[in-house]
Amino acid sequence: MKTKATIIVCAILALAGGFAFRSIRKANQNRAAIDALASQRAALQATITKLEQRLQTASAARARLGQSLDPVPGTPNERGMNAAAGSGPSAKSAIRPRRITAETIVMEDPRRVAEYLRNYCDGIELEYGGMFKTARFSPAQIETFKEIAASSWVRNMDLMLALWDHGLDRDSGVYEELARENEKIRMAEEARLLGDVEPLCREFRQTDGVRYHVRQLAGAAVYSGEPATLDQVEQATKIIAAHCERDTRGFAKEWTVNWPAARPQLQEVLSPTQVATLGLIMEKAAAYAKVNLLKMSLAAEFKAKQAAK
């Protein structure tokens, strides 16, 4: 009788244990599912935030364009795909049939946008590798920096397409104004990420036009056999940028370099051959800039004449 009771108690305990184990396992599974859903929710939330930001930029651009432009003649059908989205100020704006260009084709296809951005981000060190090293970015900071750069690129492309829809191009003042607003968003995002090193990174970006020419010394090493190190490139960039004029946004205008003033300082960080080579490179850059400025002024003159007719 005692043995029977013991067996029953053991059986009950085993059953209870089994139930308890099952419940714990189920609870663990639920917890894991909740965690997975929470991380998905966070990812979705981030996507929603990005999309909202993109929508805000596009809406602001449309509203701004709607206020600043006269309507273009044409039936709604002639105005193309964006007419359907028009309401409020943008409904009255000068929306034109969207031009079919590489940019419009890519931006209207999320798969192509994703492919472009994935590869763009995979190669981001080509632009910012020097900055990542100098400011000692952590791998996590580099990843966040990539996300910020990708969002900024998408906003810029949205802006450009919105301008095209209104018959404007990148030379227009409206584009500059809107691009500056976009730049502000990116800078605010970067400032949050970068903290103390933000001024260093801003200066890196603002002197990148100079750096582009200086790093050609590293390319010239293929034939000259005289390598240019990261430190040499950064120091030479600083010296040249200190002898350049800056634009209103703080960007160094490399074609304005005062070479006679920069040269003696460069001799302290570069070899005589490198200084001479860099002198020729900067001379070439100045010549190109002159040609471009001339082209731009002639184009503006031509446009003004056409408008006057």
């Binding site: 590489a102 084709i105 190669g123 034939y223």
Partner: protein
């Protein structure tokens, strides 16, 4: 022209004055360099190097220069031997692209370069080449779209 050639002539062992003169000679003769005159002025070795440079300058040499200019941040300067090998590899993998380029690397098959240069470049330099390959793929997204846009525009 001078910015590109002067360091090359210096690398060939010419003095700064000779390099100046060589640049002037290049400018005078335009596309067709007078190698006999170059040889008479500067000797056999620089002339042979100039001929070699001319044979590859339009594609592989320019691509290698752009590559190492972009990878300055790696801080592992290219050696003469590495440069020579890489120019040969790039030359072999060069492909003609009928569409406009959105990135300088688009003339080259970087996957092949990566495979063939694995024994020539350091791991950090190879990582840099991978970045170039990625940017090339990004450029190709736009090149393909451009091709479609041109096809649509044609009546």
């Amino acid at each position: 022209m001078k910015a590109e050639h002067w360091p090359i002539f210096r690398g060939m062992g010419l003095t700064p004055e000779q390099a100046e003169r060589a640049c002037a000679l290049r400018l005078e003769s335009g596309q067709k360099t007078n190698y006999a005159r170059f040889r008479a002025l500067f000797g056999d070795a620089p002339t042979e190097r100039l001929i070699e440079f001319d044979q590859i300058k339009d594609k592989a040499g320019a691509t290698a220069r752009a590559l190492f200019a972009s990878l300055y941040y790696i801080d592992e300067p290219v050696t003469a031997q590495q440069a020579k090998h890489l120019i040969e590899i790039i030359g072999r993998t060069w492909q003609k692209k009928p569409v406009p380029w959105y990135f300088w690397g688009q003339g080259c098959d970087w996957d092949r370069v990566l495979a063939e240069a694995a024994s020539v470049l350091s791991p950090a330099q190879l990582q840099g080449v991978r970045a170039v390959a990625a940017r090339t793929r990004a450029g190709e997204v736009f090149s393909a779209a451009n091709k479609e846009a041109v096809a649509v525009a044609k009546p």
